[in-house]
């Protein structure tokens, strides 16, 4: 069964025909060429596919694309503005919070959703927000430091 749906992704509107059983992750990656959300466990364990759906981070591997009809979606492709990296991206680079990079887009989206909603997170808030994102390289310490630093810098810019 095919469904004509509309998605607003990183500020741009897309109209796309999707199959009932296709996930948002597969439509983003394979039909729209938006590949920052990664296909990891496809089971809601790893968080590599995290996107922000109507303001909330979700695992796009566990959303049917048709369910997202009419929604607003943010992915890592939309973070940099006019060639300037988002403060979270800058902080991840500065703190060496990226090694292999596979988890990074998911980490960034979970972290962005946190800071959008809570600009002054405690370390515990950050850990809770990132609990659904696995990283097998960094040991998390640098990621948490990067999120803290980005929060401070974003606040200073206001």
């Amino acid at each position: 069964m095919l469904h004509e749906i509309t998605l607003k992704i990183n500020g741009e509107e897309y109209q796309v025909a999707v199959k009932s059983h296709h996930t948002l992750l597969s439509v983003l990656r394979e039909q729209l060429g938006i590949t920052s959300p990664k296909r990891g466990c496809e089971n809601g364990e790893c968080g590599a596919c995290t996107v922000i759906l109507d303001g909330k981070p979700v695992n796009s591997c566990m959303v049917l694309a048709v369910e997202a009809d009419g929604s607003t979606i943010e992915t890592t492709e939309g973070l940099a503005k006019g060639g300037d990296l988002h403060p979270l991206q800058e902080a991840f680079i500065e703190h060496n919070a990226v090694q292999c990079g596979f988890c990074t887009p998911g980490m960034l989206m979970s972290a962005k959703a946190l800071l959008d909603f809570n600009p002054h997170p405690t370390e515990e808030d950050i850990k809770v927000a990132l609990a659904g994102n696995l990283c097998r390289c960094t040991g998390y310490y640098r990621i948490i430091e990067a999120v803290k630093d980005a929060a401070t810098k974003m606040e200073a810019k206001k």
Partner: protein, 286 residues
């Protein structure tokens, strides 16, 4: 994933007609956090998936004469953050905030958590001590099922073909009631509970009334009446001897299994540890 058809009806008549079709495997869909992984593994083989999130009342939460009405499609994060839920039904907020991780809690719904009927689900122990009532609607109309009669076995419940959970009624708890939910899992976030314990207590004429429910240690989430009676028989706050006896009775009432997450022996030990924590928590708040 095997292909299926998807519908998102706006009224119950259409939804129930779709779900009642003979000869088809039909599934209601709310948060999709159970359905999509199960369909992908082809453990569930839906022909028809009916998204119930646009049905009237399913995304509502409101106070009524009976208590708090929580629409079936309210998410775990919405429930965990709700000042209404926290006001008198906080033990459910604690259960909801223990489910999976943030991304899952933004999608998983309370209706889905009980409809899937995993013995290890995190909201049922809280719903059991709150004596919640499940409101279901199907081909024969609407009916109410006490949560204590809802779970029939692992992934089995009292719902009939074509019936969906519309919402839950959380009755007003006795005056002064306080609750606590404790759980343990292999990974904090993402994994199912190895053991979950919900405890609720309230002042009564002499001493306190106690309710205790366990998750992940029997074919369904269970209340443990003997342990409750022991705690409730204490003339005031139960002392160490009474608490130890109640814990032993709760462990004796459980029927845990060995599985990939833990051994039965470990689960029994953890019932004792978590129940003690929950009782102590409640005693502090009483």
């Amino acid at each position: 994933m095997r292909p299926f058809d998807y519908y998102k009806p706006k009224d119950f008549q259409e939804a129930i007609a779709l779900l009642s079709q003979e000869g088809k495997k039909t599934f209601p869909l709310a948060g999709a956090t159970d359905l999509v992984p199960m369909a992908r593994d082809e453990r569930w083989l839906p022909d028809i998936v009916v998204d119930i999130k646009a049905l009237p009342g399913l995304r509502e939460m409101k106070l009524t004469d009976e208590g708090l009405y929580v629409g079936a499609a309210m998410t775990m994060n919405e429930i965990a953050a709700s000042p209404l839920v926290k006001s008198k039904w906080d033990v459910l907020a604690q259960g909801a905030s223990s489910v999976g991780h943030n991304q899952v809690r933004n999608r998983a719904t309370v209706g889905g958590n009980i409809a899937t009927s995993s013995p290890a689900a995190d909201t049922p122990p809280s719903l059991l001590v709150l004596e919640a009532i499940v409101v279901a609607r199907g081909p024969e109309g609407e009916r109410r099922i006490p949560i204590t009669e809802f779970f029939l076995g692992p992934r089995r419940n009292a719902l009939k073909k074509g019936e969906i959970i519309v919402g839950l009624i959380l009755p007003n708890p006795p005056e002064g009631a306080v609750g606590s939910y404790h759980r343990i899992s292999r990974r904090h976030g993402a994994d199912l509970a190895i053991v979950g314990v919900a405890v609720l207590a309230y002042p009564k004429a002499e001493g306190f009334g106690w309710r205790v429910a366990l998750g992940a240690v029997a074919p369904t989430p269970i209340r443990v009446p003997q342990a409750e009676a022991t705690l409730s028989a204490a003339p005031g706050k139960p002392d160490e001897a009474v608490i130890s006896q109640a814990i032993q009775e709760a462990v004796a009432a459980s029927k845990p299994i060995d599985d990939i997450r833990a051994t039965a022996k470990y689960r029994r030990e953890m019932i004792a540890t978590l129940m003690r924590k929950a009782v102590e928590d409640v005693l502090e708040k009483l």
